[in-house]
């Protein structure tokens, strides 16, 4: 009796800091944002207390930002996956053990620098004195790369590649080689073995990687602003503008709440579709 009581106290004491942290750092700000989203913009900007659905009624004025985000985020995730998978496969399966660690470190190293600086570097690579000037030398004049949708996608793939590579790498590395041998013994071609054995077994890594990248891309604002020349406008850009330029906190809050809801729905659907059975979910690396 006293033992279990003591245990209860201990549990409470140990959980208290975490609970407090979540309340103050996560729940409270969210509550504030939800409250703001029903308010009015004060005449000089900021928040004025009110209860109105005006902000939500105005969401359609940012329709283009929603469609842009909902096009580029899934597309960017897919392309990152396509680039990351061969790299992860090579690192996990093909590469010599001696080089593995070094190559893995090389994948991480760019992450030590801020995304801002790395994206800025791309402005110069894709700008007129970068790749286009090289193309001009071999006869392709006036190629525009910077400030196009292609540049935005390149920036997305580059910026988030490691987040996709690592989960896939982990799930491929613990792949049981005997399964591949079994497949080949039973007459499976390498291609068929890849499609029917390797790919399904690396599914948890792909699912995790896609989720990490997709969620971050949905909130992205820096890459479209820098590499899209401010002409390709995401919800993230709309939020930055509303809070930092127009100082319309209530509308910004309404936009943020809507974005969170869209993401919750999409991620839930995605999880349902990709990890149907419990066993598969248990294999998930994260």
């Amino acid at each position: 009796m006293t033992g279990s009581k003591k245990g209860l106290w201990l549990t409470t004491a140990l959980l208290a800091p975490t609970t407090l942290w979540f309340l103050v750092m996560l729940i409270l700000p969210l509550v504030v944002v939800v409250i703001f989203s029903f308010g009015d913009r004060a005449p000089t900007g900021g928040y004025a207390a009110a209860f109105t659905f005006d902000q939500y009624a105005n969401l359609a004025s940012r329709l283009k930002a929603f469609t842009n985000t909902l096009t580029y985020a899934p597309l960017g995730t897919l392309m990152t996956l396509l680039v990351a998978y061969p790299l992860a496969y090579y690192l996990a399966v093909k590469v010599d053990e001696r080089w593995k660690l070094l190559l893995l470190v090389l994948v991480i190293v760019p992450f030590w620098t801020s995304l801002l600086i790395r994206t800025y570097a791309w402005i110069f690579i894709l700008g007129g004195r970068g790749i286009p000037s090289l193309l001009a030398m071999i006869g392709f004049e006036d190629v525009r790369l910077i400030n196009t949708s292609g540049a935005v996608l390149v920036g997305m793939i580059y910026g988030y590649l490691p987040l996709m590579v690592f989960p896939i790498f982990v799930s491929l590395e613990k792949l049981d080689k005997r399964l591949l041998e079994a497949s080949s013994d039973l007459g499976g071609s390498p291609f068929r073995t890849f499609i029917q054995v390797t790919l399904p077994l690396s599914m948890p890594g792909m699912v995790t990687g896609c989720m990490l990248v997709f969620i971050l891309l949905m909130g992205e604002f820096l890459i479209p602003a820098f590499l899209g020349g401010g002409k390709i406008f995401f919800i993230g850009n709309a939020l930055v503008d509303l809070f930092l330029q127009s100082r319309n906190w209530p509308f910004g809050s309404a936009l943020a709440v809507t974005l969170v809801i869209i993401m919750l729905v999409m991620v839930t659907l995605y999880m349902r579709l990709t990890t149907g059975s419990k066993t598969e979910r248990d294999q998930s690396v994260m």
Binding site: R41, P43, T44, G45, G46, S61, R62, K64, A65, I123, F124, G127, G128, R129, G130, R144, I146, N147, A225, G229, G230, K231, F233, N237, A238, D241, L242, F243, L244, Q245, S246, R247, N248
Partner: protein, 388 residues
């Protein structure tokens, strides 16, 4: 004979600047610089009269703490001045750079910014005062500031209801810069600017990510006031901007990289950036539009809740020293409104048409208005233009 005659002459402005450049580049010592320019003597003489200038060591300013936060604009201070201030006062300055007045206002409005000094533009001051976000300045703590040597056109907005809330930093114009190698038609006005954008220069124009200048330029092109908040006029400006959007290279206030790389041929531009671009690439030409535009002046102001007030005043006083102001001007290319500084500058700077545009062009320019900053209509127009 002639030698001694020369020796007694004060140093010419040109020589002063040449010597100053040499000192800046590290070719000559500080001692040589102070000696040859006469500043050493001047400082010694002044030192007895103005205690603040006596010796530039840590004790000259008394104990003013060891840190402060300055929020300002990019490329807007001579690093030599910032370093020297730290060396003489022991105050380390954390510099934050901002891209628009709206951003600065948003940070202060949110509270807890922790800034000691920041650099707002003329038309925002009355809003800051109204919201109680900046404090009245105690001019007795800024002895280097002399209201009598200030050009009232630029210094004026700092005085609100008879109280001084800010001291002038620099002023300039908002026009546009163009690459004359690429655009031969010689656009002179905002109307030309948009015509070229949607014509021969399609795909190569930058407009600012800043409602004041971008909407202002469109309004001027249509023959309206730069500051208009009239709904009908704003709707027409919005139409023009959205029509030009497919022809733009970018919407960004960081326009120098695009202009320098040759991707962009024309951009809305501020004086100093126009000067910097022209200096490095002579084909860059800065145009003050004939159909209007902006005249502006920036100020140093102190937020109401500045945590390091002593350091803030020491900094304001240091920055008002004409010699320090001239050194700042030299590095960023934005003129000051202080006649003491003009007197120290060489003729080729004072006669520079980029820095000091002709009177007839200046007369068409407008100062930004307080209502332009806070008007929700303008905020929505720029947001709709960007998300279109």
């Amino acid at each position: 004979m002639s030698k001694s005659y020369k020796e007694n002459q004060p140093i010419s402005a040109k020589n002063f600047m040449d010597e100053f450049r040499r000192y800046q580049k590290g070719s000559v010592s500080r001692r040589h610089f102070l000696g040859i320019t006469g500043l050493g003597t001047a400082m010694a003489v002044l030192g007895t009269a103005v205690p603040g200038l006596a010796t530039r060591d840590a004790h000259a300013f008394g104990d003013v703490g060891n840190k402060m936060i300055l929020s300002t604009w990019p490329n807007y201070h001579n690093p030599v001045n910032i370093e020297e201030f730290t060396k003489t006062t022991g105050v380390n300055i954390q510099v934050n750079a901002f891209g628009s007045n709206e951003e600065m206002l948003a940070k202060l409005q949110a509270g807890g910014a922790g800034w000691d000094v920041f650099v707002p533009t003329n038309y925002t001051l009355s809003t800051y005062v109204e919201l109680g976000l900046i404090q009245e300045l105690d001019l007795s703590r800024i002895p280097n500031y002399d209201p009598n040597t200030q050009n009232p056109t630029f210094a004026g907005p700092a005085t609100i209801n008879g109280k001084v809330y800010a001291i002038p930093k620099n002023w300039g114009t908002t026009g546009f810069v163009l690459n004359t190698d690429k655009i031969k038609s010689g656009p002179k006005s905002w109307k030309d600017f948009f015509d070229v954008t949607m014509g021969a220069g399609s795909g190569h124009t930058i407009v600012h990510d800043y409602q004041l200048t971008t909407i202002g330029a469109a309004l001027c092109a249509l023959g309206f006031s730069f500051n208009s908040v009239d709904q009908g006029e704003l709707a027409q400006a919005e139409k023009l901007l959205i029509a030009s959007k497919p022809h733009l290279f970018a919407i960004t206030s960081d326009y120098q990289p695009g202009m320098r790389s040759g991707d962009a041929w024309m951009s809305i531009c501020w004086t100093g950036d126009g000067k910097q671009l022209h200096t490095d690439m002579p084909e860059m030409s800065y145009v003050v539009a004939s159909d209007g535009g902006e005249l502006w002046s920036d100020f140093y102001a102190v937020p109401t809740d500045a945590p390091h007030l002593d350091a803030a005043y020491a900094f304001l006083n240091y920055m008002q020293d004409p010699y320090i102001q001239a050194r700042d001007f030299e590095s960023h290319g934005y003129p000051t409104s202080d006649s003491r500084v003009d007197a120290m500058l060489p003729a080729d700077i004072v006669n520079d048409p980029i820095l000091y545009p002709a009177k007839e062009l200046m007369s068409g320019l407008e100062f930004g208005a307080a209502k332009t900053l806070t008007d929700p209509g303008r905020a929505e127009v720029i947001a709709r233009f960007k998300s279109a």
